[in-house]
C-alpha cells in the first residue's frame, strides 16, 4: 500500500474539475431539460477542423478532422429546439442558472467577476453541434477549508452540457440533443500538491457537498462528472475526462500514477536496450498475405472491402502483455490508439496466435517486415483509410514509448482504468461568443445573493441533529447525499418524522439498488415526493414505502396510487383491522383457548399476513393484544 509520503516523493500534482448540472431549464434557450422524451427525428452533420488564432489547427481538432466522422443527432421535441440543432443563435443566458452559479461561487469563497463574457471553446468530437462549447467565467480565486488548510478554487465557470452519446460505430457517432445545453457549474481547483489520492477524492467530495448545499443542483445519473489533471515528476500532464462517480477518483489517480511510472520505466528499459526512434518503420499494407486466412475477424473485415496493415515495433516483443497499471496492458494501450480511428483494435505477436489461427501469417509477416525476434509485430484490419491511419497511430504511439508518458486526453472507464481519446488540446481554442453581449454584474446583485446564501453543510448537520432530532450520523449522511434538497422539501411539505424521511432517502433507496439491482437513482424527485406524500396522507402505510419505491423505480411512469392498488396494499381502517383480528381469533379459537396468552405470536402472524403494509405494524400489535386479552377474559368466565 502506497502512503502519502510516496505520492509526495513522486511529485504527484492533481487538478480537479467538478462539473455539476443545475436545476431548471437550458442555459441558452427555453427548452426544458428533463431527459424524459423519445426522439422524433434526426439530423446528420459533419464537423471541420478550424484554424485558431495562430493560423494553425489545434492538434486535438486536427485529430478529430482526420477521423472524418459522421454525427447523427437525435432530436427531442420538448427538450431541444433550433438552438441545440445549431440552427439558431443562443438566447440570452438563463438568469436562474446564472444566479445558481453565483451562489455556488460565493459558497466557495470566490470573487465574482465584474463583467461576464461568454466564450466558445472549440470541441469537434461531435458532442456539440456548433463545434464549440459555450462557457463563461463566473468567479475566480476562491478556497475551501480542508483539514485546516485552504484548498485553492481557481475558477468557477457556468457552461453548457454536451450531447449525450448513444452509439459509437467508429465512423458514425449517434448523439442525443436533449442533454445539450443543460447548465453546468464547473469548479476548477488550483494544482493540489502533497495530497494522496484518497485526500484528492475527499476534496472532490467536499466540493460536491458544497455545491449540493446550494439546493440548486440536479442529482441522478450523470448529473456530476469529474475531470482530473494528473502529473508526476518525469511524467506528463494527462487530462482524464468523465469520472462519473466521486468514489472512483482515488482509484483513477492511483492507476494514472502507476501508468505513468510504468511508462517512465519502460522508456528507460527500451533506451537501455538500444531502441531508437529511427528504428520504427511506417506500416505497410499486407492484405494479400491474409487472403486465405482462417481468422474469423479478419476474414469478415476483408469480405466487406477491408484491408490489413502491419508494422514491426522494434524491441517490444514480450512487452505487449505487460501491465502498465491494473487492468491495462501495453497491448491494450496501443489498441486504444487504433480504435480512436474507428477500427476494432490490433492483433499482435504476443497474443496466442495459434488460438487466433494466425500462426502462419505472422511467420510470413515477420519475414516480410524484416523483423527480428525482439520486435513486436501487429496488424490492423478495417476499411482502407481507417486501417492506414490506425496502424500509423499505433506506430507513432509506440515510438513515443521512448520518451515516457505523452500529454494526452484520456477517458475514465467504469473500472477506474482509463483509455486514450485524443491529444491534449492546445491553448488556441477559446474565443468570444459574439452572439451574446457581455453581462455586467452589479455589485448590489452579488451582495443580495450573498445576503441570503444557504447554510454551510456543517451548520445543516447541526440543525438537523438539534432541531429535527436526526441521529448525527444520519444527519451527516443526508447532508452529504444527493437527496439533501429533497429531504428539506419533504420535511417542509409533510408531517412525517424527519428520521423516516432521512432513512428512506439515504438507506431504503440504497437497499433497493443493492438488493434488487434497480437503477433507483433514475427515480425523479417528484416521484419520491409523491410516495412520501402518500404515506403522509394515509394512502399507504410507511411499511409499504420500500415496496412502492421499488415498483416506482421499475416503472416511473406509474402513479403511486396505481402501484399501491397493483400491489394490493390499499390501507385498511382501524375498524377493518379489528374485524380481521376478531375473525382470525375466531378461526383459531381452539389454539387460543389452549395456549392462552402464548397464542399471541400465532395470531399476530396470521393477522400480519393479511394486513402487511396496509397499516402500521405497531397498531396491529396493540390491537391484537387488546382483543386477545378481551377474548381470554370472557372465555374464562365461560369456562
Amino acid at each position: 500500500m502506497r502512503d502519502k509520503s510516496f505520492y509526495r516523493s513522486i511529485g504527484l500534482k492533481c487538478g480537479l474539475e467538478i462539473h455539476q448540472r443545475l436545476k431548471g431549464g437550458k442555459l441558452f434557450c427555453s427548452c426544458r431539460s428533463t431527459l424524459s422524451e423519445e426522439p422524433s427525428l434526426e439530423i446528420i452533420r459533419k464537423l471541420r477542423a478550424v484554424y485558431g488564432e495562430l493560423g494553425v489547427v489545434d492538434r486535438a481538432a486536427a485529430f478529430e478532422h482526420m477521423r472524418n466522422r459522421k454525427f447523427v443527432y437525435k432530436y427531442y421535441p420538448s427538450e431541444s429546439c433550433l438552438v441545440e440543432c445549431d440552427e439558431e443563435p443562443p438566447h440570452q443566458v438563463n438568469k436562474e442558472a446564472l444566479e445558481a452559479a453565483i451562489t455556488a461561487a460565493l459558497m466557495l469563497n470566490a470573487k465574482v467577476v465584474d463583467e461576464i463574457h461568454v466564450m466558445r471553446k472549440t470541441v469537434i468530437d461531435g458532442s456539440n453541434t456548433s463545434g464549440f462549447q459555450r462557457t463563461m467565467v463566473i468567479a475566480l480565486d476562491g478556497y475551501l477549508e480542508y483539514k485546516g488548510e485552504k484548498i485553492p478554487i481557481a475558477q468557477v465557470c457556468l457552461e453548457e452540457e454536451a450531447c449525450g452519446i448513444l452509439e459509437d460505430w467508429g465512423d458514425t457517432v449517434v448523439y442525443r440533443l436533449d442533454r445539450l445545453g443543460i447548465p453546468l457549474v464547473e469548479v476548477s481547483t488550483g494544482l493540489l500538491e502533497g495530497y494522496s489520492p484518497e485526500e484528492i477524492q475527499e476534496i472532490a467530495l467536499l466540493i460536491g457537498v458544497t455545491l449540493r448545499s446550494t439546493g440548486k443542483v440536479r442529482r441522478g445519473l450523470g448529473s456530476t462528472r469529474q475531470d482530473l489533471n494528473v502529473s508526476i515528476s518525469g511524467g506528463s500532464r494527462v487530462e482524464i475526462k468523465g469520472v462519473q462517480e466521486l468514489e472512483l477518483i482515488s482509484k483513477v489517480v492511483e492507476n494514472e500514477v502507476e501508468r505513468q511510472l510504468s511508462l517512465i520505466k519502460l522508456a528507460k528499459e527500451l533506451k537501455e536496450a538500444g531502441v531508437r526512434e529511427e528504428d520504427f518503420k511506417p506500416p505497410m499494407e499486407v492484405t494479400e498475405l491474409f487472403s486465405e486466412t482462417k481468422n474469423r475477424v479478419i476474414k469478415r473485415a476483408l469480405k466487406s472491402g477491408g484491408v490489413v496493415f502491419a508494422a514491426a515495433l522494434p524491441g517490444l516483443s514480450g512487452f505487449a502483455s505487460r501491465e502498465l497499471c491494473p487492468g491495462l496492458t501495453l497491448g491494450k494501450e496501443l489498441a486504444y490508439h487504433a480504435r480512436a480511428y474507428g477500427v476494432g483494435g490490433i492483433i499482435h505477436s504476443d497474443e496466442d496466435l495459434a488460438k487466433l489461427k494466425l500462426e502462419d501469417e505472422f511467420k510470413k509477416l515477420r519475414e516480410l517486415l524484416k523483423a527480428g525476434s525482439r520486435d513486436l509485430i501487429f496488424i490492423v484490419a478495417g476499411p482502407p483509410d481507417r486501417a492506414a491511419e490506425a496502424s500509423r497511430a499505433v506506430v507513432e504511439r509506440a515510438k513515443q514509448l521512448l520518451n515516457g508518458p505523452p500529454e494526452e486526453t484520456r477517458a475514465a472507464n467504469p473500472d477506474g482504468t482509463t483509455r486514450f481519446t485524443r491529444p491534449l488540446p492546445g491553448a488556441a481554442r477559446m474565443y468570444p461568443e459574439t452572439d451574446i453581449p457581455p453581462m455586467p454584474i452589479p455589485r448590489e446583485y452579488v451582495e443580495s445573493i450573498r445576503a441570503s446564501l444557504p447554510e454551510h453543510w456543517e451548520q445543516k448537520v447541526k440543525r438537523f441533529t438539534e432541531q429535527l432530532g436526526l441521529p448525527r450520523d444520519l444527519a451527516r449522511q443526508v447532508v452529504w447525499s444527493e437527496y439533501l434538497s429533497l429531504f428539506e422539501e419533504a420535511v417542509e411539505k409533510t408531517r412525517l418524522p424527519p428520521t423516516l424521511i432521512a432513512s428512506t432517502l439515504v438507506s431504503t433507496l440504497k437497499d433497493i439498488k443493492r438488493r434488487d439491482k434497480i437503477p433507483v437513482e433514475q427515480l425523479p424527485d417528484e416521484k419520491i415526493m409523491e410516495a412520501l406524500l402518500a404515506v403522509d396522507g394515509g394512502k399507504i402505510s410507511k411499511e409499504a414505502l420500500p415496496d412502492v419505491l421499488r415498483e416506482l423505480a421499475k416503472s416511473p411512469g406509474e402513479t403511486v396510487q396505481a402501484i399501491a392498488a397493483r400491489l394490493g396494499i390499499k390501507p385498511i381502517t382501524l375498524e377493518e383491522l379489528r374485524e380481521i383480528i376478531s375473525s382470525t381469533i375466531q378461526d383459531n379459537m381452539e389454539v387460543v383457548l389452549e395456549k392462552r396468552e402464548r397464542a399471541l405470536g400465532l395470531i399476530m402472524g396470521r393477522v400480519m399476513a393479511k394486513v402487511k403494509g396496509r397499516i402500521d405494524g405497531k397498531v396491529v400489535s396493540e390491537e391484537v393484544k387488546r382483543k386477545l386479552k378481551e377474548v381470554l377474559s370472557t372465555s374464562r368466565v365461560e369456562a
Binding site: E53, E115, I116, V137
Partner: protein, 445 residues
C-alpha cells in the same frame, strides 16, 4: 469603446490593445491580454483575456492601478492557400463579394472581419482543391449583402460575363445570404445569352466554427458550376438541415425563408433545379431549364434605380405611393394581399389606394402587383378590388416573387419606359421568373 476615464487610465499606463497588463484593485489582481470592447456591456469594465483563454471584464474604479507588463505574442495571420494547377480538374472562376462565408473571426478580440484575400476561402474548404481547379479569383468588393446596391449587381454581372467568356466551366460567386436572392435575380436578367452555370453561394454559420456550413455549400456550388449542364444562375446552399446535399435553386425563384437555418433558401413556385452532393453527384429535379451551350455571354446592365417596393396591409396609408410619385420614381412594386389586393373600398375612405394608384398611372409610373402570400399566382379577376386595380393600370405579374419583380422592373425600366412595352416585358418570362404552370408539388419545399 471604453469610457473616457478608462481610455485615459490605459493611455497613461502606456497600455495598448493586445498588451499583457496587470490590473490591481485593492487586494485583487488580474493579469491578461488587454482587449477592445464591443458595443454592449459596461464601458468602464476593462476586458482582458486570462491565461486560461477566458475573457472577463474588470471594473475600473478610482484607485485601480493598471500596469503594462509586456507586448503580447503577435497574432498569427490567417493563412491563404495558393491554388495549384490541376489540369485534370474542371476550371472555374470564383468571385468573392463578402458575407459570412468570406468572414473570419479575430480569435483575440472576437471581432468578425471579411476575408481580405479570396484565397483564404480555399483554406476554409481544402476539399475544393480536389473537386475543381480555381482558374481565377476576383474580388471587386467585400461587403455584407444588406449593404449591396444595384450598382454592385452591375459590377458583379460585368465581371461574371468576362469570366464566363474564358475557358472556365462556370462561375462561383460567394455572397452574403440576406440579399442573395436579389443578386441572383439581377444576374439572371443581366447575364444575356448565358451558356454556363453561375452559382451563388453563402453560409449561415461562420467559418470559425466546426459546424461551418459554407464549406459544403462552396463545394457543391463548385460542382454545380463545373459539372452541371444547367446554364442558369442558381443559389446553391444546404437542401436540408443535415450536411447531406445542397439544392441548386433557380436565381429568379429562390428566397431566404429563415433567419438562421442552413436550409434557409427555398424554391418558391418552382422545383429546385438539382440536388448537388458534396461528392460531385448532381441529380436533376426540374425538367425545365436552360442547357449549357457555347454562346458568348454579355452583361446587359441598364438599370433604373428609381424603383421601390411598398407593402399593402390593413390600415396602410396610400400616401406612400404619392411620396414615390412626387420623388420622380418610375416604378413601384406593390406587394398586395392574397391574389394581389390593396385597400380599395375601406370604411375610412381616405385609406383607399385607388386614387393614388390612378394618379401614379397617369404620371406613367409603372405599377406592378405581387402577393405577400409568396406561394401561388396573382389574379386580378376573382375579386372586385383587384378588378378595379387592374382596370386602373396595375400590372399583375403572375407568380413572380416581390424581390424578383423589383429587380426585373428596374432592369426593364432601364431599357424602356414606354408603359405598353414595360407591361409586355414584365409579363414575358425572361429568366424563369414566371411559370406558366404551377405544379402541385412546388408548395413548401
Amino acid at each position: 469603446m471604453y469610457s473616457p476615464e478608462v481610455e485615459k487610465a490605459l493611455e497613461s499606463a502606456g497600455a495598448h490593445i493586445g498588451d499583457i497588463i496587470r490590473i490591481q484593485r485593492g487586494s485583487e489582481v488580474y493579469e491578461g491580454i488587454l482587449l477592445p470592447r464591443s458595443e454592449y456591456g459596461d464601458p468602464s469594465c476593462i476586458v482582458i483575456k486570462l491565461s486560461s483563454g477566458y475573457n472577463i471584464g474588470v471594473k475600473y474604479t478610482p484607485g485601480t492601478v493598471i500596469k503594462r507588463l509586456r507586448k503580447a505574442a503577435e497574432v498569427g495571420k490567417f493563412p491563404a492557400k495558393k491554388a495549384e494547377r490541376k489540369p485534370s480538374l474542371p476550371p472555374v472562376s470564383l468571385i468573392a463579394t463578402g458575407g459570412t462565408i468570406g468572414s473570419r473571426v479575430d480569435y483575440v478580440t472576437g471581432g468578425v472581419y471579411m476575408c481580405v484575400k479570396p484565397e483564404e476561402l480555399l483554406y476554409l474548404t481544402p476539399e475544393l482543391e480536389d473537386a475543381v481547379y480555381i482558374e481565377r479569383m476576383r474580388s471587386p468588393f467585400l461587403v455584407a449583402s444588406e449593404d449591396l446596391t444595384p450598382d454592385d449587381w452591375k459590377e458583379i454581372a460585368e465581371i461574371a460575363a468576362k469570366e464566363l467568356n474564358t475557358d472556365v466551366r462556370g462561375v462561383v460567386i460567394t455572397h452574403g445570404t440576406d440579399t442573395m436572392h436579389y443578386t441572383s435575380a439581377a444576374l439572371s436578367f443581366m447575364l444575356r445569352n448565358l451558356s454556363k452555370p453561375v452559382a451563388l453561394v453563402g453560409a449561415q454559420r461562420s467559418p470559425d466554427r466546426g459546424s461551418f456550413d459554407g464549406a459544403m455549400n462552396l463545394l457543391c456550388a463548385a460542382h454545380y458550376a463545373a459539372r452541371s449542364d444547367i446554364a442558369e444562375v442558381a443559389i446553391v446552399m444546404h437542401g436540408e438541415s443535415s450536411d447531406t446535399y445542397c439544392y441548386a435553386i433557380r436565381g429568379t425563384k429562390a428566397r431566404k425563408m429563415h433567419t438562421s437555418r442552413r436550409d434557409t433558401f427555398r424554391p418558391i413556385n418552382d422545383l429546385p433545379l438539382a440536388r448537388v452532393w458534396p461528392d460531385g453527384r448532381i441529380e436533376a429535379l426540374n425538367t425545365k431549364y436552360r442547357k449549357r451551350g457555347s454562346s458568348e455571354v454579355y452583361a446587359d446592365t441598364a438599370f433604373e434605380k428609381r424603383v421601390a417596393i411598398v407593402k399593402a396591409y390593413p390600415g396602410s396609408d396610400p400616401e406612400v405611393i404619392d411620396y414615390y410619385v412626387d420623388k420622380g420614381y418610375r416604378g413601384i412594386v406593390i406587394e398586395g394581399t392574397g391574389f394581389g389586393h390593396t385597400p380599395v373600398y375601406p370604411r375610412a375612405e381616405k385609406l383607399s389606394w385607388l386614387p393614388s394608384i390612378k394618379r401614379a398611372v397617369e404620371e406613367s409610373v409603372a405599377l406592378v402587383m405581387t402577393s405577400q402570400a409568396l406561394y401561388g399566382r396573382t389574379n386580378p379577376y376573382v375579386y372586385r378590388n383587384a378588378r378595379v386595380l387592374k382596370q386602373a393600370g396595375v400590372v399583375y405579374v403572375e407568380d413572380m416573387l416581390t424581390e424578383v419583380a423589383y429587380v426585373k422592373l428596374g432592369w426593364v425600366l432601364g431599357h424602356t419606359q414606354d408603359p405598353k412595352e414595360v407591361e409586355s416585358l414584365m409579363l414575358t418570362d425572361i429568366a424563369g421568373e414566371i411559370s406558366s404552370r404551377t405544379l402541385f408539388n412546388t408548395y413548401l419545399i
